[in-house]
């Protein structure tokens, strides 16, 4: 309960007051980004740093399999954070988010494969294009006051439209796909500028990106902008009546979100080295990337990460379990693995939605008393 947690708060801790904006709090705010003592209990802080240490050390003790799964988890967490900014912070449901990821991926991939532009530079045009398209969708949607379900369908429509256009764009390979050159020598080394290297490097890149997105999201949610977003999310008319420029701040939400998604897209392109319109822009991709934040808890900071840490290993576990049951002769060899895995996975998601409709993270957080204040 909120009251009990208030009492536990130490007198010296920085007050997480609703009115103090990020800029006004100066250096203490900068410190608070890394030591969020105003929000987290001691348990929470220990867990947070334990978690970061766990992430950072994973390649040292884990097998290459752990590194691969970990990379996927962190990538899902990054995209989840991006999507969560739109829905969880500003209340804008996007079901075509793969569009922004795909645009970032294709832009950086195309510039690299055609002009040899390294992704360190390529990320700028990639983000620019993602943000541009995001702004167009946002502008059209908000200007014509397309809200709720209709806005979600508008994002799907744009994503599908782009997918079909990409099928026909020969300069990016069309349906044949766009391939990034990989030299055998690159596999062993670490080349951060060209984003070529071994899986451990990709793991750390994904980790840094995911943590950066988390810190950015935290800065945003505690800033004036973040409070405007939450006001718009909770009651758009009331926010407008208070003088918030609803159109502008909704645009900012789409732009920030699509920028992060664009960065994620660059990572996607250089991690997989092949891009196909169907598997990049497809609606399955869009749905897939919404799962982690929804399962983790929409509107929370750790929800997307937590959701990713539940879902990806769950899928891997089901794969392992089926393989195990097959080798033990308990189920028929001819049973198709993919269908069964998705079946169980889908049922698990259904269960989570039904029994933890606020997501898993708020429940877990309250269970361990990680947070000082509810709802952060």
């Amino acid at each position: 309960m909120p009251d009990r947690q208030r009492i536990e708060q130490e007198p010296g801790a920085a007050p997480g007051s609703l009115t103090s904006s990020f800029a006004q709090r100066g250096w203490r705010a900068a410190l608070a980004i890394f030591v969020p003592a105003d929000v987290l209990s001691t348990t929470g802080l220990v867990l947070l740093y334990g978690f970061v240490a766990f992430l950072a050390s994973a390649p040292l003790w884990g097998s290459s399999y752990i590194v691969t799964v970990g990379t996927l988890v962190l990538y899902a967490a990054l995209l989840g954070q991006s999507w969560n900014i739109m829905l969880g912070f500003a209340g804008l449901l996007s079901i075509g988010h793969a569009l922004f990821v795909g645009l970032g991926a294709y832009t950086a991939g195309y510039l690299f494969s055609t002009f040899g532009l390294p992704p360190v530079l390529g990320v700028f045009p990639a983000v620019a294009i993602s943000v541009l398209v995001g702004s167009i969708i946002g502008f059209l949607g908000f200007r014509f006051s397309v809200g709720g379900v209709y806005f979600a369908l508008l994002t799907i429509a744009f994503a599908e439209f782009t997918r079909i256009m990409a099928d026909h764009a020969d300069f990016i390979g069309g349906t044949g796909g766009l391939f990034l050159k990989v030299n055998q020598a690159d596999r062993g080394g670490v080349d951060l500028i060209n984003l070529r290297g071994n899986p451990v490097m990709f793991y750390y890149v994904a980790m840094v990106l995911a943590l950066a997105a988390l810190i950015l999201a935290r800065m945003l949610i505690r800033s004036r902008l973040g409070y405007y977003w939450q006001a718009i999310r909770d009651d758009q008319d009331a926010a407008q009546a208070l003088g918030i420029n609803v159109f502008r701040y909704k645009m900012y939400a789409v732009m920030v979100s699509s920028a992060i998604a664009g960065v994620g897209g660059v990572f996607y392109a250089f991690y997989y080295n092949n891009l196909f319109p169907e598997s990049t822009f497809g609606i399955e991709r869009s749905i897939e990337l919404t799962l982690a934040p929804i399962v983790g808890g929409v509107g929370t900071l750790f929800g997307p990460i937590f959701g990713a840490f539940v879902l990806t290993p769950l899928g891997e576990f089901i794969t392992w379990l089926i393989g195990f049951l097959k080798s033990a002769g308990l189920i028929d060899q001819s049973l198709k693995l993919n269908g069964l895995k998705l079946l169980v996975w889908g049922l698990a998601v259904v269960m989570i939605v039904l029994f933890r409709p606020r997501g898993l993270w708020p429940w877990f957080r309250d269970l361990l008393r990680i947070s000082r204040r509810p709802g952060d």
């Binding site: 369908l153 508008l154 429509a157 439209f161 198709k336 993919n338």
Partner: protein, 358 residues
């Protein structure tokens, strides 16, 4: 390109469009009343298609004749799923709705699975018996435990969840249906070879495919029955009352939960009929489902979400645009529909025949 080619494309587009319209009616009814966007739309329709396929392959029943059966089965499935009140609708038993609807769901899925295996798995020689046991055991145990517990509470709650949770729940159900169909029927497409498959009516140079004509006529018939149901029957009027004013409907004593379940059942029944009918034109495979979901979204938004004549009009327009775009460049046919969708969303978000919401 001569006039006859264009004329034929228009005819074919309009006939297909009527079937699209029928399928979109299912989405529109559910949204219009319960305010849920059914993201498992195409998936439910594919269940209808497989249902008709099974009847055709096993008993030789023409897909058009299996329409009434599919309507009944999918009505019960959809209504039961929504309300946890299958027992209520059918048995008037309030005591164990979870057990009954969950059990029926498990039974239904086991049958679905078994029929898929026996129907299409005959080329697997020694594994057939094995598959039977697997299917029965796995379907029985997994589904009774998981689904039996879940199914009863599944969709009834959905009306009270926030939008994104509805979307996720239905998307997850869609994943379950697609992967279930994949397990039961495999990824290969299956069609029906009705005796009149290649026949056509001809008026001058214009050609009407018999399959498309029959499909369209059936679709119009079913859609007409549905519209009449809403206009003239007491239940239909009650459902419209729920849609117009939820609180008012409760105040005058309508059982809104039951009507919602009924409506979801009707939506699913539409998809059952549309699935049977469309099987004449299209070969069925599990991955068909997501594209039909998208197609139905496009159709209803163009026509107006929640408007029944709008769904039919949208179906006609999309059918027409697909066939005309195919004349020009076949792979562009759905790009055209999505372009049209974006235009409608921006210029007339409530759709061509929809009522403005505010």
């Amino acid at each position: 390109m001569d006039l006859a080619t264009i004329g034929n494309a228009i005819i074919s587009g309009l006939l297909t469009g009527l079937v699209y319209g029928l399928s979109a009616l299912g989405l529109s009814v559910i949204f219009g009343v319960i305010r849920i966007v059914n993201f498992a739309h195409g998936e439910i329709m594919v269940i209808g298609m497989f249902f008709a396929l099974i009847l055709f392959r096993t008993f030789g029943i023409d897909p058009l004749l299996s329409v009434p059966l599919a309507v009944v089965v999918l009505f019960l499935l959809g209504g039961g799923a929504f309300g946890s009140r299958l027992s209520n609708i059918v048995f008037a038993d309030r005591r164990r709705p979870w057990l009954i609807s969950g059990g029926l769901f498990a039974l239904g899925f086991a049958m679905y699975w078994l029929s898929g295996h026996t129907l299409l798995g005959s080329e697997r020689h020694s594994a057939v018996l094995n598959a039977f046991i697997d299917a029965a055991v796995t379907a029985g145990v997994v589904f009774f435990v998981l689904a039996g517990g879940l199914y009863g509470v599944m969709l009834k709650r959905v009306a009270h969840l926030p939008e994104h949770m509805q979307f996720l729940l239905l998307a997850a159900i869609a994943i379950v249906i697609v992967s279930g169909s994949l397990l039961a029927f495999g990824p290969d497409p299956h069609g029906v070879d009705v005796p009149y498959a290649l026949d056509s009516f001809a008026i001058g140079e214009l050609i009407f495919d018999k399959t498309k004509v029959y499909a369209a006529v059936t679709a119009v018939l079913v859609a007409g029955l549905l519209l009449a149901f809403f206009k003239y029957t007491a239940t239909g009027k009650a459902i419209r009352a729920c849609a117009d004013n939820y609180l008012g409907a409760q105040v005058v004593g309508l059982n809104v939960d039951r009507l919602y379940a009924f409506t979801f059942g009707i939506g699913a029944a539409c998809l059952g009929a549309a699935g049977c009918v469309i099987l004449l034109i299209v070969e069925v495979h599990p991955y068909l489902a997501p594209s039909y979901t998208l197609l139905a979204f496009v159709v209803v938004i163009i026509g107006g979400l929640g408007s029944l004549p709008g769904a039919l009009l949208g179906g006609l327009l999309i059918g027409l645009s697909e066939d005309l775009a195919a004349l020009w460049e076949p792979s562009f046919k759905s790009a055209f529909s999505f372009g049209l969708l974006i235009l409608v969303l921006l210029l007339r978000p409530q759709g061509l025949l929809g009522k403005a919401s505010h």
